[in-house]
Symmetry: D2
Subunit: 109 residues, 4 copies
């Protein structure tokens, strides 16, 4: 039986680290449409969607994503939100990626 | 229709921030049994389970949790692992909670 | 040099999986005091703090934690918020832990 | 004083939800170089880096990232790993993004 000797189990032969939650394309598309309508700056990628705005705006929109999916019949929703704020300077999420890519471009490889 | 005017939606009237993933008690109990058998130091709480050990040991056991649940018929599993390592000193997860509680105890409120 | 052959590096000999963010006790204590004043239902554990309430209430308080630490001189803050909402039933975070513990109690071990 | 009336504090006027951890470009670039050398399939984006491979391979490489940064003098490191595995089908992280974009393309907007 499966649960008899779990410590002898191998770890999964494949996984995707960094991958976002539910992966149900239809639901994710619904959420993208909401982001589009909202006017917030957003970018979908392989680990979810990054959005940028005031704290209250970002959190309200994410809450509305939950409400939208609930309204569409999804009974339970779990989101993982990583949120950063800083007072030293204003840096967009594109700036952050660019800063790393600029460093890598100097590698000459 | 639900998806017509998502931006007019209220945010959910209740939520639990910090709450761990699947919340299916039976599956979570399976995972706790695996942790118990493994001999690793662990502690279940309202946001998941904290474990402590070498990197390879911790990651292998979490992978075995995935394999165990897959073996029990769960087709897709998503875990959120927050992992920390430090070189300055050795501090157990109990020490961390204690350090905060010690500070709060001085508040006299 | 350290970065020459990173692929030959061993993984860390110890880590804590599930451990919450900054771990600076003083800052964490500040946040606990804010939760206490807020009147929200909360519980600190080894992976952070779980809070329970309406979406807007929870998110506003977490945002105020950022503002509080910024006001105390912390320049950059990163939070990891796992948030769940469900429409099928109301279940507190204590109920969730209890449901698992009840199952484990039946194990007779 | 800052911590006197935290509940009167406004939430931050800007934030980036979904944004990855430390944001120190130099350290992130180091990690990207390690991923490149490793031969693992990877993709950097605004919320971190997604990698794909066997469980053990992915976790070993992430552990080596910690070790690399420790070797470069970073005393404490915290990573947030979201990891998924599934038994129903094999789907790369590009496939996942494509599945959503295909749906959105049918919107005609």
């Amino acid at each position: 039986m499966a649960s008899q000797q779990p410590l002898d189990l191998p770890t999964p032969s494949s996984c995707t680290a960094g991958t976002g939650s539910a992966s149900v394309s239809k639901e994710v598309a619904e959420v993208q449409r909401l982001f589009k309508q909202s006017g917030v700056k957003y970018s979908m990628h392989s680990a979810g969607t990054t959005i940028e705005g005031s704290w209250d705006e970002c959190m309200r929109i994410i809450g509305q994503c939950h409400s939208l999916l609930h309204a569409n019949g999804v009974v339970r929703i779990q989101s993982d939100i990583r949120v950063g704020s800083r007072t030293d300077k204003k840096q967009s999420f594109q700036d952050k990626v660019k800063a790393v890519n600029d460093l890598l471009a100097q590698d000459g490889r």
